[in-house]
């Protein structure tokens, strides 16, 4: 059983997205089962492919400023802001532990 509550809890922390219910957890289990079919393929000596454009060189451009100065536009879509800052709630506070936070995984 590789999908333990610890793993699920860890994923919720990493993704900052919750499983919500048994269906969510089952969805993951099915996804893993589906992905396991990959292991049927023999990939001995095969290099992983990052991009179909791998045979081309990524190019550089001149380090010239061509656009910007759009602070007002960019701030328009933010809900909480002060002057030219986006306002975030206090950081460095980890997500509550499994027992303490509201998650379906509690009591699993």
């Amino acid at each position: 059983q590789k999908v333990t509550v610890e793993v699920l809890d860890h994923l919720e922390h990493l993704a900052l997205v919750d499983f919500r219910d048994a269906e969510g957890v089952e969805r993951l289990r099915k996804a893993i089962q589906f992905a396991d079919q990959l292991h049927e393929v023999n990939t001995e000596g095969v290099e992983p492919m990052d991009s179909v454009l791998e045979d081309r060189c990524l190019y550089l451009r001149e380090d010239d400023v061509t656009e910007g100065n759009c602070t007002k536009e960019l701030l328009k879509n933010a809900k909480e802001k002060v002057e030219e800052y986006f306002v975030a709630p206090p950081g460095n506070i980890p997500l509550p532990k499994l027992e303490e936070r509201e998650t379906f995984l509690q009591g699993s």
Binding site: D18, R27, T43, V46, M49, V52, P89, G91
Partner: protein
């Protein structure tokens, strides 16, 4: 079926003054209102569209149109940024988000004078194959309201039919496909990551072009899978697709994944002699679940080429069946990364939860994303865990190379173009489609289109015929990298041969007069 050179028929009408851009725009806007039940549009930009049409009219009066696209009404899938217009990706996460900029492809269309009518509906964040999973509801296939479909459906009870019998558009660019199919615009932008332009094109009876990866800029296209996404083009004929391609393709300094080669826009040649052509029929595309109708159509198409003198041979793409699994892992992994930007701080939905950044992000994402999106994020994170990275993500990347190599081998053996089905069957009724979950459906429906995205190749759906139920069936041509001209040449030849029928849409006009027959695709 439209004749004429590589320009919209209506373009001629505009140039000759037979119809004015504002009139054209009004007609389309009116038709959008009459076809509101299709739910193809999320946002209709009526005011700005009319302004654009007015500007176009001024240019035509001066005898200085910007080009073939000047004054042509178009629609854009709602995952492309459009300055000053809401861009939602059919998600609560971006409801109310007004783009501060235009995606490069949108800008290029506007620079040519195209009139942007609105943003079309899709599956949330382009995840899905039905255009049924967005927060604004599902898109209805216009063919559900066609005489061709109604004639073939077994009448149950009188009016209850239409409500329960309507079929899906396919997805995820269903809104764009429906918009083009129902004549509310002349071309629409979609996106294609696993088949999202070609699939709804097949179900809605329109041309759906997926260009080579790297040909068209993704700048401003809200990304799903960075290594596979491409903007897609939906039109009613191959010539029109070439015109739109001509205005969009080419290097964009804002997208480093666009190639720097010079792109030359072209008019699709009128091929008369196919004897030098070699068409490959990949046997693995005879997939389980392929309807006998489509199989027959595919066979007929192969014969069409053979009888016209082309070389038609069976080929093999042995890793085809792993494409979906491979996609599943790579897609969820990239999604896990791409969706991380939605945290409520700079744009989009923000939860009221204020205890800490992490809890705010978590609440925002819980409130903003639907089950499908959340599911893919979690799966993706699983495959990217240290203990899984090698066995899933890297493994999938290796399988990707095998899939891409399959195509290289086949094209290297002298085959010019591949001919395959686009979908397993004609469009299914919505009530039937929703019986299976999104992932299952996507896995089933993407099987014929997905491998093309793995390899980054160009491909096009050409509407070919009608099914027994009176619904469109399309076939897919797959070309070689950056050989769009050859691909479209063959597609146009085929289009001419099959003469796909025009939809006989029965729509009540906006002024509530009796049912009207929408005959012409051109307004000339």
């Amino acid at each position: 079926a439209l004749k004429g050179g590589s320009r919209f028929q209506v373009s001629a009408a505009l140039t000759e003054g037979r119809v004015a851009p504002t009139e054209l725009c009004q007609r389309c806007l009116s038709l959008i209102k009459s076809t509101k039940f299709l739910n193809a549009y999320i946002t209709v930009a009526e005011e700005t569209a009319l302004k654009q049409a007015e500007e176009s009219e001024k240019r035509y009066r001066r005898g200085q149109p910007l080009g073939v696209l000047d004054g042509i009404p178009i629609a854009v899938k709602d995952n492309f940024n459009t300055a000053g217009i809401e861009t939602t990706c059919a998600s609560n996460m971006l409801k109310g988000y007004i783009s501060p900029y235009n995606a490069t492809v949108v800008q290029r269309l506007l620079d040519q004078g195209a009139v942007l009518l609105g943003k079309t509906n899709l599956d949330e964040f382009a995840m899905g194959s039905g255009s049924t999973d967005g927060v604004f509801g599902p898109v209805r296939n216009p063919w559900s309201y066609s005489r061709q479909y109604k004639e073939k459906s077994v009448p149950k009870s009188h009016s209850e039919d239409e409500e329960s019998n309507w079929v899906i558009t396919g997805g995820s660019s269903g809104g764009s496909a429906a918009a083009v199919s129902s004549f509310t615009c002349f071309a629409a932008l979609g996106s294609d990551t696993g088949g999202s332009t070609r699939n709804p094109a097949a179900h809605c009876g329109v041309v759906g072009l997926k260009p080579t990866y790297g040909l068209i800029s993704r700048h401003g296209l809200i990304p799903l899978v960075n290594s596979m996404d491409v903007p897609g083009i939906l039109t009613r004929c191959v010539d029109d697709a070439a015109v739109v391609l001509g205005s969009l393709a080419g290097h964009d300094p804002k997208d480093s994944t666009t190639i720097q080669d010079n792109f030359k826009p072209f008019e699709v040649p009128n091929l008369t002699d196919v004897s030098k052509l070699s068409i490959g029929i990949p046997k693995e595309y005879h997939a389980p679940g392929l309807s006998s109708e489509i199989l027959a159509l595919w066979s007929k198409a192969a014969d069409l080429f053979k009888n016209a003198g082309a070389k038609v041979i069976e080929v093999s793409l042995p890793h085809t069946r792993y494409s979906i699994v491979c996609y599943h892992v790579l897609c969820t992994a990239e999604v896990a990364s791409n969706m991380a930007r939605f945290d409520g701080l700079e744009y989009g939905h923000r939860s009221d939860m204020n205890k800490s950044t992490e809890s705010m992000y978590a609440a925002t994402r819980r409130e903003g994303f639907n089950d499908v999106v959340r599911g893919r994020i979690l799966s993706g994170n699983y495959f990217l865990l240290k203990q899984n990275y090698e066995n899933y993500f890297i493994k999938a990347q290796k399988v990707r190379r095998l899939i891409a190599n399959d195509f290289v081998k086949v094209f290297g053996s002298g085959v010019d173009i591949l001919l395959t089905p686009t979908t397993l069957s004609d469009a299914v009724p919505y009530m039937e489609f929703i019986k299976e979950d999104n992932r299952t459906r996507s896995a089933q429906d993407d099987i014929l289109t997905q491998a093309v995205n793995m390899a980054g190749l160009p491909a096009i759906n050409v509407p070919t015929g009608l099914s027994e139920r009176g619904l469109p069936l399309g076939l897919q041509f797959i070309g070689q990298s950056f050989q769009e001209k050859q691909l479209l040449t063959v597609a146009k030849w085929f289009e001419k041969q099959v003469k796909f029928p025009m939809i006989q849409l029965e729509v009540k006009r906006h002024d509530h007069s009796a049912f009207q027959h929408q005959k012409s695709a051109s307004f000339s």
